[in-house]
């Protein structure tokens, strides 16, 4: 194996149910504990059983932000994996496979090293169950990469401890058998690509987690009190994390009968004073649309995480997409101040989900955290958050009885004092247009001032809370890339190949950083919009808000992640681009 660019990629493939994901995640955790940053990419078709699963684990001493077209090492649990992925191995890379299976490796390039290891046999030696096969394969890879088998065995104790001593011991034995087999049989192939970085202190400052997990942890960090979430790909893991930790952290997670109930329950809980959220994918959001505006007009704080997949309807259930931006910005009748945030990686998902709760409370409105499936389900390393830094801002929140309380009192910033039932203050949270107390009112003047009051909150929010988008790369670049969501990772990777290209990463879609984008985009000689939807929804919003038309749009709609190589190829076609 060779390590050409300081990023090591290991691809693991096998039939659904063989633990491809758990092997990959353990490899990622061992790398993170050894001081490396990690980016995992997982693909699985929507088949019930017998589907082919594949996961790529990329690690480096630098930040890794994107998958790679080719891997250095392939761990193949079956022939299909070899057949489908042998051509995606770097020149000089290797394949780990079961030497006692009748593997057909005839098509594999001669430069690829073949690491035939009696995986099944060694697994049986460790214990009677074949589940140890994964462990043997992973420890073999660790042996080849120079990873630390003791770190692996400690991880086994932590992850499988609850399964009993016998299982843990058999797992650890399997780890030794695989590791030692490689050390004895492939002496000349051993590398130090995964050796523990000396300067790296313990406990590890890196976490390895998916965007779903980051969203759930962000919510818990923000003092979540209530969540009602109906399962749907790709966000179900948010509810799994929330369900498992509710008693410990004192919040309630409830699975409702449908998404309509999910959002209405969350609104009810929030009205009563609980920090509340729901989560769904595009199809579920369609059902929530009706109550989306209910939260808006009743000025009930609500966080909604929306994990995008390809649509319309059932669409591409297990693949990614970015086609829901216009939906969360416009669905439901009429206007209210809807805040929409679009994190671009796991770290941003954690931070912006936590931030969303403060924004929802401060502006007493809906906050959508819109992420794509690639963020939902791919693992990345994230800096261990500093728990003592966490602060909760509940805005104008009144828990005492006040004289002549007006729930929708007019104010300069548009934000009225919010009280809750049970503290003595009378008000109606009213889905009808209402006066300052909440009584239904269809009076002309009242309608105008209440509408204006609500919309003022968006202006206040833009002034007080919205940061400028981050710009990566040279400030005076000739070519500017505009994009959002998980495209960020591959764009940053691609940027390394050019000297005069920068990237504007948009994480606030409403309110929208109009002035900043106008300035940045009008300075560039050429602008490229990159999105995973058919029309270029962000590019159209840019035109609507700034008047600047981005004609050059690189759009991908097949549900697959954009690889850095595709972006490099695209940018190579732009006149005046300078390669490094």
């Amino acid at each position: 194996m060779v390590n050409k660019d300081n990023v090591v990629s290991v691809k693991i493939g096998g039939p659904a149910g063989t633990g491809v994901k758990s092997v990959g995640l353990m490899l990622a955790k061992i790398a993170a504990r050894s001081g490396y940053q990690v980016f995992d990419y997982i693909e699985y078709p929507s088949l019930i059983k017998g589907g082919h699963n594949v996961m790529q684990v990329n690690f480096s001493t630098e930040k890794v932000t994107a998958p790679r077209a080719k891997s250095d090492l392939l761990i193949a649990f079956d022939q299909i994996t070899i057949d489908l992925h042998f051509s995606e191995i770097e020149e000089g890379g290797g394949i780990i496979y079961d030497s006692e299976s009748k593997a057909d490796l005839s098509k594999v390039d001669k430069s690829i090293s073949l690491y035939g290891i009696p995986l099944k046999k060694l697994a049986h030696e460790a214990g009677e169950k074949t589940i140890f096969l994964n462990i043997v394969a992973l420890s073999s890879a660790l042996g080849l990469l120079g990873g630390n088998n003791e770190t692996f065995k400690k991880l086994i104790e932590e992850e499988y401890g609850s399964k009993g001593e016998d299982i843990v011991n058999a797992d650890k034995k399997a780890a030794d058998l695989g590791y030692n087999y490689v050390l004895e049989n492939f002496k000349d192939d051993l590398r130090d690509y995964m050796k523990v970085i000396d300067s790296f202190s313990s406990p590890t400052p890196y976490m390895v987690l998916t965007g779903n997990e980051a969203a759930a942890l962000g919510a818990i960090s923000a003092g979540l009190q209530f969540a009602a979430i109906y399962p749907m790909s790709p966000i179900s893991n948010i509810l799994h994390v929330l369900a498992a930790n509710q008693e410990k952290f004192g919040y309630i997670y409830k699975q409702p009968e449908d998404e309509i109930s999910a959002i209405n329950m969350s609104i009810g809980a929030s009205y009563a004073g609980a920090r509340s959220m729901t989560a769904t994918s595009g199809g579920g959001f369609c059902l929530m649309t009706e109550a989306y505006g209910l939260a808006g007009i009743t000025e009930t704080p609500l966080v909604i995480v929306e994990g995008m997949r390809g649509g319309p309807a059932t669409g591409l259930p297990t693949w990614s997409g970015q086609g829901d931006l216009r939906m969360v910005l416009h669905s439901h009748q009429d206007d209210w101040p809807r805040i929409v945030l679009t994190p671009g990686d796991v770290q941003e998902t954690y931070e912006l989900t936590a931030k969303a709760f403060d924004l929802a409370d401060k502006y007493q409105t809906t906050v959508v955290v819109l992420i794509d499936k690639n963020i939902c389900e791919n693992d990345e390393t994230m800096m261990f958050p500093n728990v003592t830094d966490l602060k909760i801002d509940r805005g104008k929140f009144i828990k005492e009885k006040v004289e002549d309380y007006k729930r929708y009192e007019l104010s300069e910033d548009g934000v009225s004092p919010r009280s809750i039932p049970g503290v003595g203050n009378f008000f109606i949270a009213n889905s009808d247009e209402h006066d300052e107390y909440g009584y239904s009112s269809e009076e002309i003047e009242n309608r105008n001032i209440q509408m204006k009051k609500r919309m003022q909150k968006l202006i206040t929010c833009a002034q007080n809370d919205m940061p400028n988008p981050e710009v990566f790369g040279p400030e005076d670049a000739d070519i500017t890339v505009v994009s959002w969501g998980s495209n960020k990772g591959s764009i940053l990777e691609a940027l390394k190949s050019f000297s005069n290209v920068n990237y504007v990463h948009v994480t606030w879609m409403n309110p929208f950083p109009t002035e900043f984008l106008s300035n940045v985009l009008s300075k560039a000689k050429h602008v490229v919009d990159i999105e995973c939807n058919y029309t270029g929804q962000l590019a159209d919003i840019v035109r609507e808000k700034t008047g600047i038309e981005i004609k050059d749009r690189f759009l991908k709609l097949d549900g697959r992640i954009i690889y850095p190589a595709e972006i490099i190829e695209k940018l190579n076609s732009v006149e005046g681009v300078k390669k490094i």
Binding site: K29, L217, Q225, A269, A272, A291, N425, F426, I428, Y439
Partner: protein
């Protein structure tokens, strides 16, 4: 609160003779008698003529969407189980648009009281058929007569797992008041199907019809017998419209199952952020 304190600046806009007026009065009487006020009570309503009630009772409330009152009420109860939570709903509202929520809220046994303002048609939209409209009745949407059988809300509630199921007639205000109090005292999902004439659009289910054909379940009726209750819930016809408590069952409420709120309401739980470091470590 006194009757005076329950008053809002608005006078009810229901039609003269509307059953909603009786329900409104009975509810306020119950509130005065039981001390329901803005320190202990929250009301929710759906959309329909019934929903206007929130503007005429000075108790803190949430006016939701057509059919969606029950999930809002459930959310309030989970967030603050100290509150008496009442959901005022309509028959079109709760049994049509909100049918799924009705079934599942009952099944989960949330500790809420559902007051079904049942005028057997859509009145606010000027008289179309509702899921509770009897077969054959002529309405604006069924000029040749309703071709569908009606739902039996009580049977539906019992089958779904509701633990307090009763029927009242709006004209009998004292009995209705007592039933509302009893339903609120019940721990669990309580439904009162309140027969209330729509004097403007419903020429079949009138005050006279209810007065002539309703009767009260007697002492010999056992409301803990689910099978009997289910049979009774389908009884509806000439001289055969039972009123009273059809079914009641003592069963843990959903809210009682949460250790998170065993000591104090959810909204009074301080965030337990000290456990975060251990949780984060699971992802290393």
């Amino acid at each position: 609160m006194t009757q005076e304190e329950l008053k809002t600046p608005f006078t009810p806009n229901w039609c003269p003779g509307c059953g909603n007026l009786n329900i409104w009065a009975a509810f306020k009487n119950a509130a005065v008698q039981e001390g329901w006020d803005n320190t202990n009570t929250a009301l929710v309503a759906g959309i329909g003529c019934h929903g206007h009630i929130l503007n005429f009772v000075k108790l803190t409330s949430f006016e939701g969407l057509h059919g969606r009152a029950l999930p809002v009420a459930s959310g309030i109860k989970m967030a603050n189980n100290r509150l008496n939570v009442f959901a005022h709903v309509g028959d079109g509202d709760c049994l049509g648009e909100g049918g799924n929520h009705f079934v599942h809220s009952a099944r989960r046994n949330h500790d809420i009281t559902v007051l079904l303002h049942d005028n057997t048609l859509y009145a606010l939209t000027t008289g179309q058929t509702s899921p509770a409209t009897e077969r054959g009745m002529k309405t604006k949407s069924t000029p040749a007569g309703n071709p569908d059988d009606p739902v039996y809300p009580l049977a539906w509630a019992i089958a779904s797992g509701a633990t307090f199921v009763a029927r009242a007639y709006s004209g009998h205000m004292d009995k209705l008041m007592n039933l509302i109090i009893e339903a609120n005292n019940h721990k669990g999902f309580a439904l009162i199907d309140i027969l209330q004439p729509c004097v403007t659009f419903n020429k079949v289910c009138t005050h006279a019809m209810y007065q002539q054909n309703t009767y009260y379940l007697g002492d010999d009726y056992d409301p803990t017998n689910k099978k009997e209750a289910f049979m009774k819930a389908y009884e509806f016809g000439e001289k055969k419209i039972p009123l009273g408590i059809f079914y009641r069952e003592e069963k843990p409420t959903l809210e009682e199952g949460y250790v998170q709120i065993a000591e104090k309401p959810l909204i009074d739980n301080e965030p337990k952020l000290e456990g975060l470091t251990d949780l984060f470590k699971k992802y290393t």
